[in-house]
């Protein structure tokens, strides 16, 4: 397959963007995310990254020339699917598979993580091409937290999420189509086009809209858990938030009350080391988030958030405690955000070695390695999954591009009951 690398929508004024110089030559093999050329906007000099793996086949805009957002800069050819495979990474096995899980369950988890990665990568491309409106906060590298936790929940359990909600939504069972439609602002989206990327959710599938005020969803989740407890439904809520949310008063007020009333809530801190561009050690004296639980009298635990089965098992323990009135639990999942905080963030504040180190701990690669080492599953199984997802996403993208936009009368509906 060949992919067009287009000029990202970087200019705030809409003026043409100058290609300063190319960082690679024709024939070079580039990786998705690798800087390929440098461009100069009216504001700053920035790098443009490859959106797929492959060879640089054609260079269309030469250094010194200008191009408008959306114009094709180069053609990069690839036959590789963009999710990393176990073979690409070549890392030693870090996850031992317990024998107790059956093959379909494990492949299902793998599929869910690949779905999130492929979805996010495709959405990023659509944004950079200027096709998709709005802004995005993506979760590449954090797939194991969403999938591991949601796998421990029942269908009628709930989750709450944040502005970085795509992965959680896919893990909880929202469809690619309803999400892409939402991202395109279509009336067929999960929130009829009124929510967008930061408010992804579908209450019928156990996910309220993402709450985009940092930590704003934590008291709400506690309240959902209070409702479950008062109504004796035995449901639980898993509340996702980042390390940045832990400094907010809302976190402390909510976990205190949840502990006081033994609410069935899993407080899931995805500690990805950065709140926007600020590293956690600049804003916390004690960077072990799970330690906070003890001061409120409940259990906290920190685990490797890039190891899918470790996350799943920790979440299972926490769910079990919550269902037996021993909640809440604060689960800190150590992970890493491989993309910018939001679109157009080149992540210059993340040290190269740190990025490389976490890249080697990619949750999908690690899980794939474990699956392959187990003997029961081979590379063809994984490839088939990735190819199926590729096709599913492409079909959904095509449909979403022409999904019906809301009528203007929708502006005024859904304000009051």
């Amino acid at each position: 397959m060949k992919f067009e690398l287009k000029m990202p929508d970087l200019s705030t004024t809409g003026s043409p963007i100058k290609v300063v110089h190319w960082l690679v030559a024709i024939g070079d093999v580039v990786e998705r995310g690798q800087a390929v050329l440098e461009v100069e906007t009216d504001k700053a000099t920035m790098e443009v990254e490859a959106i797929n793996n492959g060879k640089l086949l054609e260079m269309i805009v030469a250094a010194g020339q200008e191009a408008n957002a959306g114009e094709v800069l180069a053609i990069i050819g690839t036959e590789e699917s963009s999710a990393p495979t176990a073979l690409e990474a070549g890392r030693p096995l870090q996850t031992q598979l317990p024998k107790k899980y059956d093959r379909d369950f494990l492949l299902g988890l793998y599929e869910r993580m690949v779905l999130i990665r492929q979805f996010e990568d495709r959405v990023k491309t659509l944004f950079l091409e200027g096709i998709m409106p709005g802004t995005i906060h993506q979760c590449q590298g954090q797939e194991a937290t969403a999938v591991g936790v949601c796998a421990a929940l029942k269908e009628d359990d709930f989750i709450t999420s944040t502005f970085r909600s795509h992965g959680h939504a896919l893990a909880k069972g929202l469809t690619v189509q309803e999400m892409l439609d939402e991202l395109f602002g279509a009336m067929t989206g999960c929130c009829k086009g009124k929510g967008g990327s930061m408010h992804m959710g579908n209450i019928e599938k156990g996910m309220i809209p993402g709450i985009a005020i940092v930590a704003g969803g934590i008291p709400v989740a506690a309240g959902m858990a209070l409702a479950f407890k008062m109504r004796k439904t035995r449901q639980v809520v898993a509340c996702f938030f980042g390390d940045g949310g832990v400094a907010e008063g809302a976190f402390h007020e909510a976990v205190n009350m949840a502990a006081l009333w033994s609410l069935p809530a899993l407080f899931i801190c995805e500690n990805n080391l950065y709140g926007a561009s600020t590293r956690i050690d600049q804003v916390m004296k004690n960077t072990t988030v799970s330690d906070r639980a003890a001061s409120y009298g409940f259990r906290g635990e920190t685990v490797d958030g890039n190891d899918l089965l470790t996350v799943y098992e920790a979440a299972q323990r926490a769910v079990e405690e919550c269902r037996t009135d021993q909640g809440p639990v604060l689960l800190e999942l150590l992970t890493y955000r491989r993309t910018g905080h939001s679109r157009r963030d080149p992540c210059h504040y993340q040290p190269k070695e740190e990025r490389a180190d976490w890249s080697n701990k990619d949750p999908i690669v690690r899980f794939a390695q474990a699956l392959l080492a187990d003997g029961d599953i081979d590379q063809t199984d994984l490839d088939a999954i990735r190819e199926r997802i590729d096709r599913e996403i492409e079909a959904a993208v095509e449909q979403a591009k022409t999904a019906p936009q809301p009528p203007l009368s929708d502006l005024l509906t859904d304000v009051y009951a």
Partner: protein, 338 residues
């Protein structure tokens, strides 16, 4: 029929709604402590004995427990959350404005937040931070309904309507109108008691109410200022000025039907508001009248409000802060005399 003050009427309304619907519960500070106060103004006094599992007494954490109320409401409960003093709504406002009010819209109509919020307001000898009239900060929030109750009959009927409504509703109550008793009695309290029927009744959330009919000038007010305006209306009558006094009551949405009928009749409007004049609810009402009924006006709308200062402590200054009968009468006469 029994004579009740606002605090008692609200207490009965809450109890009757909790009796009727087991998803209704109360959440707030000091609301359910045996031997305690029943909230800052005795509204929930004793309810913890009748409903031990549904009177949730919280830590002092307004942001947290308003968020908890929002979450519970989204999962099918009908919480009644209160703050001890309206001023504390600022702490809870992220949950009220960003979550409760917007959830239906940003979910494309899939989610609802049937949440009742109660907040006491008004200058009452407590200095600047337990005194503000908070209505202005919430009337411009789409998705939220805002009401203000000025007597016991309305308080009971409006609370019941609010509990049965599927929207988030903020009810403002005035500290000097509660008729709180015992240790929580307020000095300078005003009689807002009503005859309360024995039967179940509701008062609609979106309607103003004409409290005194007249044809010369329309006086619009709510909460304590309604009572001050009624006193002014009576004195104006003795001077042969026939004032129509309307309890605006529903501050969002504003009932321009009732207000408009009056404006068409009198052509003169005075709006009375406790709280700084700049940016008040009275400014919104004045503009709304101008847009809708400008051609009926014989003179520009006049506002009588507090000066643009924080609420002072010294009783003599606090009295000067609050609009009074004399100012209202002067404004009405100015409109009539031209």
């Amino acid at each position: 029929m029994k004579r009740q003050a606002i605090a008692e009427a609200l207490r009965d309304a809450i109890a009757e709604e909790m009796e009727r619907d087991e998803t209704v519960f109360c959440i707030g500070e000091d609301i359910a402590v045996p031997g305690g106060w029943g909230g800052a103004f005795t509204v929930t006094l004793g309810l913890e004995k009748r409903f031990p599992d549904r009177m949730i007494n919280t830590p002092i954490a307004e942001l947290g427990f308003f968020g908890i109320a929002v979450g519970a409401a989204m999962m099918g409960m009908r919480p009644i959350a209160d703050v001890q003093y309206g001023d504390f709504l600022f702490l809870a406002s992220d949950q009220i404005i960003n979550n409760a009010a917007k959830m239906r819209y940003m979910s494309g109509g899939r989610c609802q937040v049937p949440l009742v919020m109660r907040a006491p307001v008004g200058a009452t000898g407590r200095g600047s931070q337990h005194a503000q009239n908070m209505e202005r900060y919430f009337t411009g929030v789409p998705g939220l309904k805002v009401v203000a109750v000025s007597n016991a009959y309305d308080a009971k009927g409006i609370l019941k309507s609010a509990v049965r409504d599927d929207n988030p509703i903020l009810i403002f109550e005035h500290k000097l109108l509660y008729g709180s008793k015992g240790a929580r009695v307020e000095s300078g309290a005003v009689d807002a008691t009503s005859d309360i029927p024995e039967n179940d009744y509701i008062v609609p959330l979106d309607q103003a109410e004409v409290r005194q009919s007249g044809s010369d000038v329309t006086i619009l007010a709510w909460l304590l200022m309604l009572h001050v305006s009624l006193a002014a209306g009576q004195q104006l009558a003795s001077e042969n000025v026939d004032a129509e006094v309307i309890d605006v009551r529903s501050l969002s949405p504003i009932d321009y039907q009732t207000i408009g009928d009056s404006v068409k009749k009198t052509g003169r409007v005075v709006i009375i508001e406790e709280g700084p004049k700049t940016g008040g609810v009275s400014a919104e009402i004045a503009a709304g009248i101008q847009e809708r009924f400008g051609r009926y006006l014989k003179a520009p709308v006049i506002r009588v409000a507090s000066p643009d200062v924080p609420v002072p402590f010294s009783p003599i200054l606090e009295n000067a802060y609050r609009p009074n009968v004399t100012q209202i009468m002067q404004a009405a006469r100015r409109l009539i005399d031209g």
